[in-house]
Point group: C3
Chain length 325, copies 3
């Protein structure tokens, strides 16, 4: 990816496609902008007029109620109009190309596209062809990236740990097939944690994983030793049935997070998961609902972080509004 | 059900789960609040700002365009933002538990959940686990209850008859499997009608039906004699094919409402049906479209009654607004 | 169709069902009203409050993301509330009649119905039974009519050609099965172009096509000679497989629009298509994306034209607002 595809000539965010290529300052600006939206959600009237009159199209070529819902809520809190387009059931079934879909929705004066697709690179493709003034947000493309998920995870770490310096972070599970893990690893390294570990069976590790700037562990408790943050990935059950893993029971036995396993981490470690949890597979309910879990905080933070990214990409953040006043 | 699950410490409505356990005064308060919303729907601009900035999630685990639509319209008239979540196609397919669904949507700052589910008790389960300030509305759970339907029926009776005292009301059809009938029976008895009759074949009567406070009739015209209100239930065709009934033709012959059959009721009796009607099975078109039918009034009243219940549960009714002013 | 079904007693638009029966003045009024909405879409805040508080129900008995989306965007820009009802999955599955569907939604105080149905005459049927103050907009009925598509095409012609007089217009493709062609032919003749040509294989021509006021050509380049406007129809692939045509390849060879074929038209001819395009079948990508193509203009104009028709049918156009002030 080229640096300038996500940024405009002044270096401001235009599209949000992947964590790679973004500076530490820009990631911190997203986190700080999100902070200004956190208070809004608990107010009686949860609306900010920043995107009033803008049309945001949720272009989901892959079903995802949860992620789509958080984008829809974020957009509505910014007072935008939202179009939910489930594309399986629509134009592509009639043989319309991706590019025609983009051009047609642009002709209808849509201002922003939130794109999820099973193929890596789809959001980049849209950004390469988007008209001036239109923003593309990647809501997950193949195994490549899920950068808004990574940023809400970063926000949750920042909120609980006060900063990134000196932190040891472990990511546990199916690293090879996870776009979430890939985006988290980039964000953690850019933000300057002291160590990123990936933990999982060898069959679920990407080739040459060390080139990503991580330490690999194939044994859970060894990998968890003294970490400050434990990020459990969701296990795709489809993957399990394809013989990469012997059984759910055996997976939990080796890589599931129990209270015992968690005790190897730092005593004040936080436990994260992108949801939805497979209870009893990735972790016990005691851990998921326990005092170290910040899983529901992640969900709440997801709204504010997406509001930040959407308003920054449309260059209508509260700060800028203020500086214009 | 315990009394206090639906009410807050001051005895005000918090959740709306079933008619049982609610007082006559509270049911009348709902009906009076609905009255104040009736005028709004015929105004040029049909909006009240009572729930502005609130997020209402329609959580339909069972498909129902009609009921969902009335809740959506009611919510939009109260200026709320509405999320329509058809859950079959989403998170539960990924194995997320009901409780995780609730907790995640609460973490996204949803304020109210309108819940329909094929299992009795689902709305109660949500209410037991809801966070403070969150309201649960039961839009139909299994065979148990459909309390907003019962309240719009009560409104329609009150509007046409001027009160409940002295009324004889007959409910006709598949009593055994009807959550609508169960909620209507409770509401009619709490509001103090003089007699509730249930009419249907013995195979479609619940065990010990008399303990519900009704009189049972297995012959239509005998049961209709001198009643003031005739409520026809919808016949689920699936039921018919399962050999509980010989044929649609025979059902209509025995329990369908023709003009002749209706003539046994009081001359000014009204005819009700929760919709959609199976014309020629539950009643003739002459009756459905005739002068005694108030079926479309029920639909209109449904919007106002649901606005009343939603605004009372969020404790933002017009009256309270006024008293704060 | 009787003249007065679309118009009220004062001759103003009430329903919009088909181009037939409408006067040249009324068509021009739609085009001029649309002109006043064109600027709105490029403004920062794309909202006009003309239909605030109105409820518009998109009643799509046939799937169509593209057309439904343009109506939804048009309605939201007019500040209306929109209900999207995909009827396959809902009430009609339970056996509800069309008439009951209309009556129920009217009872819920819906103000306008945008109707698409595979059966010709459905929108007329709704209009015949609509309550006073309710408007019906035909979004495509069977092979009969698609009048809003025709009007956005007329707008695009007017915008590019400055008028209709003296124009030669060719419509190319499956004329027999096209509701779009039928509505275009009526509109072009009412607006007074000098010649309407239909071009296609004999198997895809309606019986007695000349009675529609067109010239028939069965050879592409002959038909295109000196025309000012080339309208390519979408080829339904289902049709092709039903043996009316030998193959996609052969169809393109005979009736597909290449740059060579287009060179037979007037040098400043514009190329139109209702979308989505089957690239390489109806036309080459060079033509679709070339300088004579106005296909994306059509999409943009579709929003403004639908805003015009919706606001005129609700009798709340900007002009009338002004005259009341």
């Amino acid at each position: 990816m080229k640096h300038n595809l996500q940024l405009d000539a002044q270096g401001r965010l235009n599209h949000f496609l992947s964590i790679e290529g973004l500076s530490r300052d820009l990631l911190l600006e997203i986190l700080h902008t999100a902070q200004s939206f956190i208070g809004l959600s608990s107010r009686n009237i949860k609306k900010a007029p920043l995107l009033r009159g803008k049309v945001i199209a949720n272009l989901f070529f892959e079903a995802s109620t949860r992620t789509r819902t958080t984008f829809e809520l974020a957009a509505k809190r910014l007072s935008a109009d939202v179009l939910n387009l489930n594309i399986n059931a629509s134009a592509t079934a009639k043989g319309e190309t991706l590019l025609d879909t983009l051009r047609n929705l642009q002709a209808m004066h849509c201002d922003m596209f939130v794109v999820r697709h099973a193929d890596s690179g789809t959001a980049h493709f849209f950004a390469q062809h988007a008209a001036a003034g239109v923003s593309i947000i990647n809501a997950g493309d193949g195994r490549h990236a899920h950068p808004t998920q990574a940023m809400l995870d970063m926000y949750t770490i920042l909120h609980n740990k006060g900063g990134f310096e000196g932190l040891k972070v472990a990511i546990v599970g199916d690293i090879a097939h996870s776009r979430v893990a890939r985006s988290q690893i980039h964000a953690l390294n850019i933000l300057g944690v002291s160590e990123v570990r990936v933990i999982g069976p060898k069959t679920l590790m990407p080739a040459q994983v060390r080139t990503l700037g991580v330490h690999e562990y194939n044994q859970l408790t060894t990998g968890l030793r003294d970490v400050d943050v434990v990020i459990m990935l969701r296990l795709q059950k489809e993957r399990m049935h394809s013989a990469m893993l012997p059984s759910e029971h055996e997976y939990f036995h080796l890589f599931g997070l129990s209270e015992e396993a968690l005790s190897h981490a730092s005593p004040d470690a936080i436990v994260m998961h992108p949801g939805p949890i497979n209870r009893g597979i990735e972790m016990t309910s005691a851990v998921a609902d326990g005092g170290q879990s910040v899983i529901l905080q992640q969900v709440s933070n997801g709204i504010a972080v997406r509001m930040a990214i959407m308003s920054m990409a449309m260059q209508t953040t509260p700060r800028q509004e203020a500086s214009h006043a």
